[in-house]
């Protein structure tokens, strides 16, 4: 009877081409599996390195962003003065010179003589307060009215040109105002919780 039964006890007794091919296929498959397994193990081991590799590009991106920013015009940031120093100065002027009192008073009702008397208080006090807390110096030491020459590249923040501004440096003109600059500032330090907005405390005599 021509039936296909699988007899497991059967063993190849001859080495024919088929069997060689079969054995070869098995060997190739096994090798492939081993390579794949090794590859997986290797890739697992490399894992931390791969993170570094991914991290570095992030840093680079940050830098790239900056570089991109640089050529574009920076957004203009205007310096914002803190009110404390300004209030402090007002407070000092009030204390020494009665500055706020003077400014806040309606002077229309008074004669020039009366205003003149008060102006002495203000002038003397302001002069004292300013001299005590600032050192002033003229920007230009030449006498006003003298001819002076400004070379190429002079500092436009310290000298302002007016009038017939044409041509190229050097510029020659007459000094109208010698200018003022502060060479040092000595403002008092304030304790925590000091309210600079109170320019002068109300005074109550007991």
């Amino acid at each position: 009877m021509n039936t296909y039964t699988i007899d497991l006890s059967l063993q190849p007794t001859t080495f024919d081409l088929w069997h060689i091919c079969l054995a070869g296929t098995v060997a190739v498959l096994a090798l492939t599996l081993i390579i794949v397994l090794i590859g997986m193990v290797m890739s697992l081991r490399r894992k931390p390195e791969t993170i570094t590799i991914t991290a570095e590009p992030i840093v680079k991106i940050v830098e790239v962003e900056k570089i991109v920013q640089a050529p574009t015009p920076e957004p203009v940031v205007l310096k914002e003065s803190t009110p404390d120093a300004a209030l402090q100065l007002l407070g000092l002027l009030q204390k020494e010179a009665r500055f706020i009192d003077f400014i806040e008073e309606d002077i229309a009702a008074y004669s020039d003589a009366d205003i003149g008397i008060a102006a002495r208080v203000v002038h003397e006090g302001c002069s004292k307060a300013i001299k005590e807390h600032f050192t002033l110096a003229p920007v230009r030491s030449e006498a006003e009215g003298n001819k002076i020459t400004l070379q190429q590249g002079f500092d436009a923040t310290t000298v302002r040109l007016t009038g017939n501004i044409v041509g190229k440096a050097p510029f020659t003109g007459s000094l109208i105002h010698k200018g003022w600059q502060v060479t040092s500032v000595r403002l008092p330090k304030l304790t925590q919780g000091y309210n600079a907005a109170i320019l002068a405390a109300a005074e109550v005599e007991l």
Binding site: D101, E105, I117, A118, S184, P188, K189, G193
Partner: protein, 678 residues
């Protein structure tokens, strides 16, 4: 970790460039004396942050290498009646190193909540009411709440509330008849105001100065520096002792004392860089006239020669005269007041005070500007309305001359003496201000009294017919004498006296720094004490005596006669002592014994043990009583111990008296500062 490194690196330079953070970065460091908040222009190197008029002074702290450990300084403190100044110099190991010193800016409250650096610390203390001070408003860089309000803030607050203001504590220290450790100041304060003693006030000023120093020099505690504190030459032993004790109370145990006029001379020597040897010559008698804010101090220094080297000896000091620049401002204010009252205007006390301020400024202007003949004085209304309510008057040159030049420096003869009148009862309630404002008269009295001061010095020769000691040179000190009109008048009067006795005119020694000389000279004295310059000799400027009852039959109705027994002679040098073994006293253990105590700044010839049974008021002045209490330690109460007295002048410059038992070397200190105990 590498991740963080990447983040950190780009960030730090960014933050450092922002001005706000850099300002905060300085917060922990000692403040620069002048807080520079972003200079508008770069400061030229030749003009550092220097207030006007201080060109020669370097600004402190910034120049000080604070972080250098083991740095050593010579420090001088001028503990003045109206303000204190500290001057210092780095002590260098280098032998040839120049002595270059600077004045320390002292951070202090200038008003509540505001701290500023000033070269002077006004010697005022304000006892604030608790409701006056907001929480934290008295903070200083080194403390949240100082024990006492001192300095500019005290003066400002006190100008409006005088009942809480302590001023002139120093003058009280030398005021006979009060206990300087008893809370007596402010003298006019109502009951509920907590009072302090003059001693406490002095301690508070020293404490502030010490704290300021240690804040700026965290690695050089003041207690480890060569420290010299100045006192008026006319301070009595008790006042000197109290000053040293105040220094000790704030941990400054090493402080030594120096007389202010001597400090002025040291400063003059230091500033001259050796040139003083050309200005002074052998045989000179230098008269030091120190007119400060509250006191006038006179000293005489003789220049002699020893082995070819010039030597300086302080030969005499004057009495303690409470008369100074403050009196002058007040005198002007009252002149103006009288003028206004003639016009029918009434002046409240606050207006007089404002006038005094105004007069001080006006006086300075008139003295410094020759072309100004009158200065308008304006007293503004106290309310917010400035115009209208303001009082206007003026001070003229003629008035200034009349009141100050003629009033305080009158042209008098050498034979004139200060006028004294008997005071009405209230003497101990206030300070014993000088009754005669004529400084020239005080000077005449001083020179006549000290006529024999130089008799022991062979280099100094006084003509036979002289009626007063002839000074050959004059050194000025004190802010008052910055006014040429006053300085010239003083010289004119002195020279007129000299001319009348055919003596050559006295020359004015140049180069004195009238405001800062005392502090500077004190710092220099620390340097000199290391053997690095000429030292003024002198020792004690007075001889001291105790009063003992003379052995005489008692006369009913009369107090027993008193003899003065010399226990310390004139000119005792620092670090010496004198025993008085022949006069024994039997003292009872456990019972305080008091002696009357006298000083003489003219009797140079008395030695220890000299008994005087007669003296004029001019010769001996009575100081406060001294007291000995023999503690029991191991003895029986009531036991009588025979003791003798021993006087010693310490290295510090104070006089110490001890009772010494001859049997067993037991010693008891005699206290000076028992005042007004009766």
């Amino acid at each position: 970790m590498s991740l963080f490194d990447h983040i950190k690196k780009p960030k730090s330079p960014e933050t450092a460039t922002t001005p706000t953070t850099s300002a905060f970065a300085n917060m922990g460091k000692p403040a620069e004396p002048i807080a520079a908040t972003e200079p508008v222009k770069p400061v030229p190197a030749s003009a550092p942050f220097t207030p006007i008029g201080w060109e020669t002074e370097k600004v402190t702290a910034t120049n000080t290498p604070d972080n250098a450990t083991g740095q050593h300084f010579f420090v001088g403190i001028d503990l003045g009646t109206t303000h204190c100044v500290l001057s210092y110099a780095v002590a260098s190991d280098d032998e040839d190193a120049e002595f270059s010193q600077q004045v320390m800016a002292i951070p202090q409250l200038t008003s509540l909540g505001m701290v500023e650096d000033k070269y002077q610390l006004p010697s005022f203390l304000y006892q604030a009411h608790e409701v006056e001070i907001a929480e934290g408003a008295t903070a200083l860089p080194w403390t949240h709440k100082p024990a006492y309000l001192v300095g500019e803030v005290a003066r400002t607050l006190g100008s409006k509330t005088p009942i809480r203001l302590v001023s002139s504590a120093k003058s009280w220290l030398c005021h006979a008849g009060v206990d300087c450790k008893a809370p007596i100041l402010p003298a006019d304060a109502p009951e509920e105001i907590e009072r302090v003693s003059p001693f406490q006030a002095t301690t508070a000023y020293l404490q502030h100065i010490r704290d300021a120093w240690e804040y700026q020099h965290p690695n050089a505690p003041l207690s480890e520096q060569e420290l010299v504190i100045t006192v008026p030459a006319s301070f009595d032993p008790a006042a000197r002792e109290l000053t040293v004790e105040a220094a000790r109370a704030v941990g400054l145990h090493q402080a030594i004392l120096l007389e202010e006029p001597q400090a002025a001379v040291y400063s003059w020597i230091e500033k001259s860089h050796g040139e003083w040897r050309k200005q002074a010559k052998c045989g000179d008698v230098i008269l030091v006239i120190d007119v400060g804010g509250g006191t006038t101090d006179l000293s005489l220094i003789a220049v002699t020669e020893q082995n070819g080297n010039l030597e300086l000896t302080r030969v005499a000091i004057g009495d303690h005269i409470l008369l100074g620049g403050d009196n002058m401002d007040l005198a002007l204010a009252y002149t103006v007041k009288a003028k206004l009252e003639k016009d029918g205007k009434r002046l409240e006390p606050w207006k007089i005070q404002a006038l005094t301020h105004g007069c001080r400024d006006a006086k300075e202007k008139i003295f410094t500007q020759a072309d100004v003949d009158n200065i308008p004085l304006v007293v503004a209304n106290r309310g917010s309305s400035l115009i209208g309510g303001t009082l206007r008057t003026e001070l003229t040159r003629a008035e200034v001359n009349r009141v100050l030049v003629e009033g305080f420096f009158p042209k008098v003869a050498a034979s004139d003496r200060p006028v004294t009148r008997t005071r009405a009862g209230l003497r101990t309630a206030g300070l014993p201000y000088a009754q005669d404002a004529g400084i020239t008269r005080h000077l005449a009295a001083f020179l006549a009294k000290q006529q024999h001061a130089t008799e022991d010095l062979k280099d100094v020769n006084l003509p036979e017919h002289a009626t007063f000691l002839h000074p050959t040179a004059v050194l000025f000190n004190g802010g008052v004498l910055k006014a040429d009109a006053l300085a010239n008048r003083l010289m004119e009067v002195l020279n007129s006296w000299l001319q009348s006795e055919q003596a050559p005119e006295a020359r004015l020694l140049a180069g004195a720094d009238l405001d800062l000389a005392v502090a500077r000279g004190a710092a220099y004295y620390g340097f000199v004490r290391q053997g690095k310059g000429v030292r003024i000799k002198g020792g004690t400027a007075a001889a001291y005596y105790v009063g003992i009852e003379s052995a005489m039959p008692a006369i009913p109705g009369l107090p027993p006669e008193i003899e003065a027994l010399c226990i310390a002679p004139f000119g005792m040098e620092e670090g010496t002592q004198k025993e008085l073994p022949d006069d024994e006293f039997g003292l009872v253990i456990g019972e305080p014994v008091r002696f009357r105590f006298f000083a003489s700044n003219t009797r140079r010839e008395d030695i220890v043990g000299t008994r005087l049974d007669y003296w004029t008021d001019d010769e001996l002045s009575e100081l406060d009583e001294i007291e000995i209490t023999l503690a029991e330690d191991g003895r029986r109460a009531g036991e009588v111990v025979p003791v003798h007295l021993r006087a010693a002048v310490t290295e510090v410059g104070t006089l110490e008296l001890h009772a010494v038992s001859q049997k067993d070397d037991g010693q008891w200190k005699i206290e000076f500062d028992v005042r007004a105990g009766e």
